[in-house]
């Protein structure tokens, strides 16, 4: 049985749905970040698959930039999370109802 583009796109959709469910049901901010990583990775699979099946390298380029953005997002997000944890002692989403640091 031949694996086509639709196989990869369906897999990417399933992973994206898993990440979406994770974003919705998590309260802990660290695990919320994990769910966003799942979202970014599922999109990367779709990019690489389209790049392969259309013989075009643009998809791989976009996947590279997505990886770079994910890396910088993790660096800044974890820094902010550490500052928040030092001040408040927890990283629950429900306690972040105020904008004042």
């Amino acid at each position: 049985m031949e694996i086509g583009l639709n196989h990869y796109l369906v897999l990417s959709t399933i992973l994206f749905a898993i990440g979406l469910v994770g974003v919705m049901r998590r309260k802990n901010l660290l695990l919320l970040f994990f769910a966003t990583e799942i979202l970014l990775n599922s999109v990367n699979i779709a990019f690489a698959a389209i790049s392969h099946y259309y013989g075009d390298l643009t998809g791989q380029m976009f996947a590279f930039f997505v990886i770079a953005i994910a890396a910088s997002e993790v660096a800044v997000g974890l820094g902010l999370l550490i500052v928040w944890y030092k001040r408040h002692g927890n990283i629950d989403l429900d306690t972040m109802s105020t904008m004042r640091g």
Partner: protein
């Protein structure tokens, strides 16, 4: 045949790992399952002939991002069970509808765009890494430089946010100085709580 076997094996493993990530109550289990899922995803890139992307995936995600998360988790209280959002029927219904619409859209997208043509066609005579280099350093040179600047900004932001009091070294101080420092920190915390 081997491609199909590899695809279904790694698809099952990836979905199982990411399902563990979003459902487990232990933050450490989520971290290890996420690292495993990242490596399984790189297998798809190797199957698809994007070897350079697969290597980058392993190096950046399991090497850098997961190490950063493991480092960050040392700051947080991760032994305690993670609290979950209360199950709301409305949200669950909305999520299911959204996921179904996504499936339909994504599956129908390549059918709609059937007359698509390759913008930067892959060359069969050179390897994937060479192709990537040629496209990245000609057409995508400016985005590449912007991404480099963005990573520099992220690095500086991470150092500024997480690296306070890095000029102090606990190993070089004597006990009295460490004691004074801890008392100062407690006073600061009380001031912040009161203000």
């Amino acid at each position: 045949m081997f491609e199909a076997v590899a695809f279904y094996l790694f698809a099952f493993l990836t979905i199982a790992m990411f399902y563990i990530v979003v459902t487990t109550k232990q933050a450490l289990y989520a971290l290890t399952a996420l690292a495993a899922g990242m490596i399984f995803i790189s297998a798809f890139f190797f199957i698809l002939g994007a070897e350079f992307l697969g290597a980058i995936q392993i190096i950046v995600y399991t090497g850098a991002v997961m190490a950063l998360y493991a480092f960050g988790m040392m700051f947080f209280d991760t032994t305690r069970d993670v609290k979950e959002a209360q199950g709301n029927k409305f949200i669950i219904t909305g999520l299911a509808t959204l996921a179904a619409v996504l499936v339909v859209l994504i599956v129908s997208a390549p059918i709609i765009s059937e007359n698509i043509t390759a913008y930067y066609p892959a060359l069969p005579e050179v390897g994937n890494t060479q192709e990537v280099g040629m496209v990245l350093f000609t057409k995508y040179l400016v985005p590449f430089e912007v991404a480099a600047v963005m990573l520099l900004v992220a690095m500086i932001a991470g150092i500024v946010l997480a690296g306070k009091k890095m000029d102090l070294s606990i190993t070089l101080m004597n006990d009295a100085e460490i004691h004074d420092m801890k008392i100062d920190q407690k006073l600061d915390q009380h001031k912040k709580v009161l203000s």
